[in-house]
Subunit: 187 residues, 2 copies
């Protein structure tokens, strides 16, 4: 008998990502369908995406995306992948080029800043890479989508942090139907 209260990992992932998958901007960007929500969450996704000039991510996030993203990967910027395995840059249509960085997070940030041309650098994830940049005190703000899904496992965002860490305050909250969007800034 099915248990409507029991969600498998796929269903949880779907519930976690519903807020962004439902936005018109994301659907157009990923070419997964027309329509979609056009309110304040959509505006948030657009404005956050459009101010990013380069992305940084970890190897695990890249490995998962390499098989899951469409050919036109949804970044449209240079992407610096922190890895221990050297690899030639991987150019995708639509402006995304993945660069594989073996010299650590500060080198990745230096390259990303130079490439971003005055726009922002996003640490896309996963949690371990975000923790590395937090511990280097290089994070200026967070955009957190808090979805009420209990995963019972996985890497936590705020752990393995050194003391003293940076101090943040929450300066803006948007509550959507599938997630609460918290913007943390230094303070």
């Amino acid at each position: 008998m099915s248990d409507p209260g029991h969600m498998g990992w796929d269903a949880k992932w779907g519930a976690l990502m519903a807020w962004i998958v439902n936005t018109q901007y994301f659907r157009e960007n990923l070419k997964i369908g027309s329509g979609g929500e056009t309110g304040p969450i959509n505006d948030l996704v657009r404005s956050t995406t459009e101010r990013i000039g380069a992305n940084i991510m970890g190897r695990r996030m890249f490995d998962q995306g390499e098989v899951a993203w469409p050919e036109e990967a949804p970044f449209h910027t240079p992407v610096y992948v922190l890895t221990h395995a050297p690899r030639e840059p991987w150019v995708r249509p639509g402006g995304t080029t993945f660069h594989f960085i073996t010299e650590g997070p500060e080198r990745a940030l230096s390259l990303a800043k130079a490439a971003a041309g005055g726009r922002d650098v996003r640490i896309a994830g996963g949690a371990d890479v975000i923790q590395q940049f937090l511990n280097l005190d290089l994070i200026d703000e967070f955009e957190i989508a808090l979805a009420p899904v209990l995963f019972h496992g996985g890497r936590r965002l705020f752990e393995s942090l050194r003391e003293p860490g940076p101090r943040f305050r929450i300066d803006r909250v948007i509550n959507g139907p599938s997630a609460t969007h918290l913007h943390y800034v230094r303070g």
Copy 2:
């Protein structure tokens, strides 16, 4: 040289609790001073407190409070303390009586419901007691105050949970200057 970014445990605790300590309702209740904030957060504290007819808490929370609360403990209801150590009820002025329950969380809830007289039962904490009730699928809603303070330690709220767990949605958010107040209900 002092590091303004470095907060000790006391300072972190103060930052965590600032949202409630600053409310007029809480200050009057705990008799820690006049004045205080009288806006939506104060209304939230009042309405949440006034619909509670009984409290349940863990032994560690009680032990900390026993030395920290004023003589007129700030509950004004029966309080059921989950413990392994039998003890006679402890009657405080102002309507708070602590009952020490050694028969487990379901027995505490049964007593609390009977005592609440139609009002709600609050699981006051700590995290381990909340987890016990979550794992018994006995939690109907959460009132979470999310404060942007990195503690680098302590018991996490959402861990040690059994699958399948209950499903929640966030139905109301109030953003205050010191915390974001999330109300989770079943859904």
